[in-house]
């Protein structure tokens, strides 16, 4: 049981990485990776929102939707819960902690339409995870996202001064870098 959970953690952080293997959350990956500081803020905001949304949607699904046989409402419920949580967190940070709002609150509005969040909520249900597996997966996936986003931003700071062909400037060359990172990460496949 324990070794299985560790394997799931490693898989969700490194081997089946949200960005590089599942192609999720590419918009913030391209958009908020110009500076290391903004990548860090975005990464932390994503970790927080995913953990909160994962727990709430899992509870709502098994405590409300399943007993009432309303499973078909999963998608609408999840997206509304995510959107509400983002609003709640932003409001809370505005009121209680200006410093925290400054570093990660500004990225919160970008998270409502981040596919990693909705994906974690949906996969928790569709893979039929029990509570320990759900917890590990819900924490591991955003950690993998934040890790790759931070590494990518460090590479991109150097890329800014590189001499890139005119038509590859901006996003195309960033995608080439992401592809090479995916290849590097696939070398980790032998860990488990």
């Amino acid at each position: 049981m324990f070794s299985e959970l560790v394997a799931l953690l490693i898989t969700s952080v490194l081997l089946n990485n949200a960005v590089l293997n599942q192609f999720l959350g590419l918009c913030p990956f391209m958009g908020v990776s110009r500076k290391k500081s903004s990548a860090l803020g975005m990464g932390m905001a994503v970790v927080f929102v995913i953990v909160a949304a994962g727990l709430v949607t899992y509870a709502l699904y098994y405590l409300v939707l399943v007993p009432l046989k309303l499973e078909f409402m999963d998608l609408v419920t999840f997206i509304l819960v995510i959107a509400s949580l983002v609003q709640l967190t932003e409001m809370f940070l505005k009121k209680s902690s200006p410093a925290l709002y400054k570093s990660l609150g500004v990225y919160l509005p970008l998270i409502t339409t981040n596919c990693v969040v909705l994906n974690v909520c949906l996969v928790n249900i569709s893979n039929g995870y029990d509570i320990p597996h759900m917890l590990v997966y819900t924490v591991g996936t955003p950690l993998g996202f934040a890790l790759v986003l931070y590494i990518f931003s460090a590479i991109r700071e150097r890329l800014e001064v590189a001499d890139v062909p005119e038509s590859f400037k901006g996003n195309p060359v960033a995608l080439v870098v992401a592809g090479l990172m995916a290849m590097a990460f696939s070398g980790l496949a032998g860990i488990i």
């Binding site: 590089l20 293997n21 599942q22 192609f23 999720l24 959350g25 590419l26 918009c27 391209m30 078909f72 409402m73 998608l75 609408v76 997206i79 509304l80 959107a83 409502t112 339409t113 981040n114 596919c115 909705l118 994906n119 949906l122 996969v123 569709s126 062909p165 005119e166 038509s167 590859f168 400037k169 901006g170 996003n171 195309p172 060359v173 995608l175 080439v176 992401a178 592809g179 090479l180 995916a182 290849m183 696939s186």
Partner: protein
Amino acid sequence: MNRMQNFKNGLIKDNPVFGLYLGLCSTLAITTSLNNAIGMGVAVIAVLILSNVIISAIRKIVPDDIRIPVYIVIIATLVKIIQMLIQAYAPALNSSLGVFIPLIVVNCIILGRAEAFASKNGIFDSALDGLGMGLGYLLAVLAMSFIRQLLATGALSMTNPFDESQVLFHLQLIPEDFTISMFSAPLGAFMTFAFLAAALSSYKQHIQRKEDEAAKAAKIAAAQAAKAAKEAA
């Protein structure tokens, strides 16, 4: 003719995927086969047209303050309906597209068009805009999956989405010993996308340069004409 121009721009020049970089996640993830690409493209077109029409129809009664929550609820409901239809009539497609069908909800093309176009224009124009943008998305995923399937498996093939045992066509164009399996892996997806986007960007720069030169030439011609008229007078 403005409408036609809008429609055409959505296909090539302002292609939502390669031009605007919207909806990248599903484009990279599902383009391993033509089947997936067509299924996903049709699903996106359906959601986009319906959401544009509904949002345009209610644009005058929705208070401006809460329009984004309203859009999200409408889009989520539409996607769930499409997902249930696919589950019922094309189960093979449903299992190969997996989580990317429900993830259409957070596809920026849909919310982006709702906000940028459907909330300001009439029902007919919005439907046409949805169709144009949706076809642009379909074109992009088809181009990606054409390259990736051909290079990774050496064959182009399609099966009937409603009955997976029925093969529509299967062309083995490259012998199996010469295929590059990298193109079905993430690296191939990122590379294919980067090169297609760079190609579009270089095409746009080419057009821009031509327009600049034409404008310059016209300016010089006008100045010369003015000079000639002055001298004649």
